[in-house]
Symmetry: C2
Subunit: 209 residues, 2 copies
DNA sequence: TGTACATCAGTGAACGCGCGTTCACTGATGTAC
DNA sequence: TGTACATCAGTGAACGCGCGTTCACTGATGTAC
């Protein structure tokens, strides 16, 4: 049989998750630095003081949201980069994957884009740290590719971070094209993102010329 | 003789500028969406109500800051892109120019990076609009280059926006390396930014292969 | 140049409101025997 | 299984505070004649 939490802990986790969800919703329209603790508890339907049972502050909640938004993304990033097929297929699949992720988790993506350079230091740092990890992971995947022969570690990391930044940029573009009936705009994002990736991929191929 | 403003208008402009300066200072540590009107007037030393003589709201002030931060940058961007010399020289000069600009106007750069995806819609839109203009201007400069022969307008614009995003990315990296004694970190940013630009430039050269 | 009136940038009091945080509490859940 | 006590997630009242906005005002600057 599987391990079950006590009733108390299960309820506590449920409330905690409700706070995170409510905060994420409120953050579609504002930055973390202006999010109020009372706003969040009001949205959940608990007393303001209940907040303190779960987080020290809204900044603390923000750090938890970073983990929720990016923590589970590492396997996805890895497989995206290491996928096989010809370059254009790989790019197309990566762009589709990003589009799908943005559709499935728009609020998480918006939160990361917003707070990456936002006004709350601990959250900014948590995001930078996760993105740096992504960079290193992509670097290691790239290193496995035969094309990486002759590349220095530094150059591989540079390329890896360029890919990571590009993915985020693309995700942010898809975000602006989420409304119903914006198919044309979405198709436009696919085209632009694809060509950007292709240009980078061409640069990569001729890097050692 | 030069045209002079009346005493009244001159004083008004001075106060307006003081409000903008104070706001920009306060925005180093927080987002626009949490900036209070009273904070700003307190920092300047005027009554809270004086604020309304100049701006409808802090969002309105934010839009004015966008104009101040990016409005005067168009000539600089143009000349950067259209500069001559061999590719590596051009890249080196562009990176230095960005570094210099970030050193001279760190708060403006931080403001743009922060609010580009921030929580205040009119400000976000003002920034997107300015960046779109930069993109078109760079596109037109690129079109003049002999290397642009055979390129579609679409592809040129794609490349132009890639450059613009890359400049902003680079500026943001320099921002994190501004403290005294971070020379090594700054040199690291120069190296990374240069190689990113170089890779894009290689991709550009082989785009039509 | 001088006078009489208009303009308007900045003032200061007042308002109602929501904020973050403290505190002692309650009552369901958990634990020891 | 039943009982007696401990834990602790969530409550609700209270606090002092700073917020955005309104309003009638003042007095220096501008303008018409």
């Amino acid at each position: 049989m599987s391990h079950t939490l006590g009733i108390r802990q299960a309820q506590k986790q449920k409330t905690r998750q409700a706070l995170l969800d409510a905060a994420l919703g409120l953050l579609e329209e504002q930055s973390l630095s202006s999010l109020g603790l009372r706003e969040v508890t009001r949205a959940v339907g608990v007393a303001p003081t209940a907040f303190y049972r779960h987080f020290r502050s809204t900044a603390d909640l923000g750090v938890a949201l970073v983990e929720e938004a990016l923590g589970s993304l590492h396997p996805m990033i890895r497989t995206t980069v290491s996928a096989d097929g010809d370059p254009d297929e790989r790019i197309a699949r990566a762009v589709e994957l990003i589009a799908g992720h943005v559709s499935a988790h728009p609020a998480h993506v918006r939160f990361i884009a917003r707070e990456r350079h936002g006004g709350v230091q601990p959250v900014r740092e948590a995001i930078q740290q996760q993105l740096a990890r992504f960079g290193e992971e992509v670097q290691h995947e790239l290193a496995k590719d035969p094309m990486a022969e002759g590349w220095s570690d530094d150059d591989l990391l540079m390329l890896a971070n360029l890919y990571v930044d590009q993915m985020l940029m693309t995700a942010s573009l898809f975000l602006d094209a989420l409304e119903e009936g914006a198919e044309e705009q979405r198709a436009q994002v696919v085209r632009i993102a694809t060509r950007r990736m292709r240009l980078i991929s061409i640069g990569r191929r001729h890097w050692l010329d």
